[in-house]
Symmetry: C2
């Protein structure tokens, strides 16, 4: 993603819109109406231009989305004070990333990206990998462990915000309720036993507990 960089001295028509302006407007549209409202056409009109002008500043819609995620990370991932203890540092850094991303429901569509790549987000990755190494993992194992943390974090956000969306949609959730009401007590006794508590239980925020368990388990192996 090459930055447009310094003001160009080359000849030609002066730009009427900038990458920054595009991203800024895109952010506003998404904040107001969700990522579903962000279309190249609408973005163009809100930026006071035509759809095709946008393609001079971003390659396509997917690049725009990734740009938007990076912008969000740069803007919302303020670096917290990190504890000296490496295990605690891992937990605090991962939770900070998690909380910032989870606060932003539209992120899911883009979050499936391979990794967070904004320089600001990389600082958190650094802290986690460093904490893992300080806890005694080799650098290679630390990368694997970091990835496990990222899988868990991304999965938690994706699954939970999609569930919340479905709940808002109404009546889609009743399918789950119906399935759970009709559970075969003989074949699925444990699920039948917790069926009534499933909704409240899965609504609880268990990210920190699961994260701690995962990190402890990852550190067990050395």
């Amino acid at each position: 993603m090459p930055q447009p960089s310094a003001p160009r001295k080359t000849l030609g028509r002066p730009p009427r819109i900038s990458r920054e302006e595009i991203i800024e407007t895109a952010r506003r549209i998404v904040d107001e109406g969700g990522v579903g409202k962000l279309t190249m056409r609408r973005l163009a009109t809100e930026v006071g231009s035509t759809p095709m002008a946008l393609y001079h500043h971003v390659r396509d819609k997917e690049e725009l989305l990734v740009l938007l995620l990076d912008d969000y990370a740069d803007r919302n991932l303020r670096r917290p004070e990190l504890p000296a203890d490496p295990r605690e540092r891992i937990l605090v850094a991962a939770t900070a990333v998690h909380d910032a991303l989870a606060a932003c429901p539209w992120i899911v569509e883009v979050l499936t990206a391979d990794d967070l790549m904004s320089t600001n987000a990389l600082w958190f990755v650094e802290q986690i990998v460093d904490g893992l190494i300080e806890c005694g993992l080799s650098p290679d194992r630390a990368v694997h462990a970091y990835r496990a943390v990222w899988y868990y974090t991304a999965g938690e956000i994706v699954v939970r915000t999609t569930a919340a969306r479905r709940r808002a949609d109404d009546e889609r959730a009743t399918y789950r309720e119906q399935v759970f009401a009709d559970l075969d007590t003989r074949e699925l006794p444990r699920l039948a036993q917790v069926a009534g508590r499933w909704a409240p239980l899965t609504a609880e925020d268990t990210y920190p507990n699961g994260l701690r368990a995962l990190v402890d388990g990852l550190l067990l192996s050395r």
Copy 2:
């Protein structure tokens, strides 16, 4: 998702297409060309009908997708022999679900559903929850622990298959490489240190290791 149930005796025009036929054809389209090729219009023509006829059998496209996921789970989640040891049982059941879903790249779009709900998939959930209880967790904690496993599993699949897709797309991956090549060695020393090995390291299949760590960590707490 009410089943169409027994052959209806009520009067009226006899159905020309069935829900089963729709799902079967949808599955074929998706298998051949990916989930992106599945449109209501194309599905209609391949089933020999019109777009609007489909809406008599499924509520909308999202319901069709969930139906398709359930169909896939019923068809591909063959129940393995499970070990007697509860911890091993958890690992084998979770890995079986993971492997079946990971083998199916189109699943990602639907996987963000709250939970797997086909009766066949629920058997695996039952095995995991049961194993966790047998290991000494309370039923409530077992549900939370199962959810952590599901977050980790869904996250791993979503992140990895999206990454693979991006790699196939080409040149999108080079962004990551560029960022990693330009890492500030002073500010991000650990990442700079592993930068060269990042791609192969993250390409390795570490699902089973991470799963074991997570489960061990979850069992530590009681």
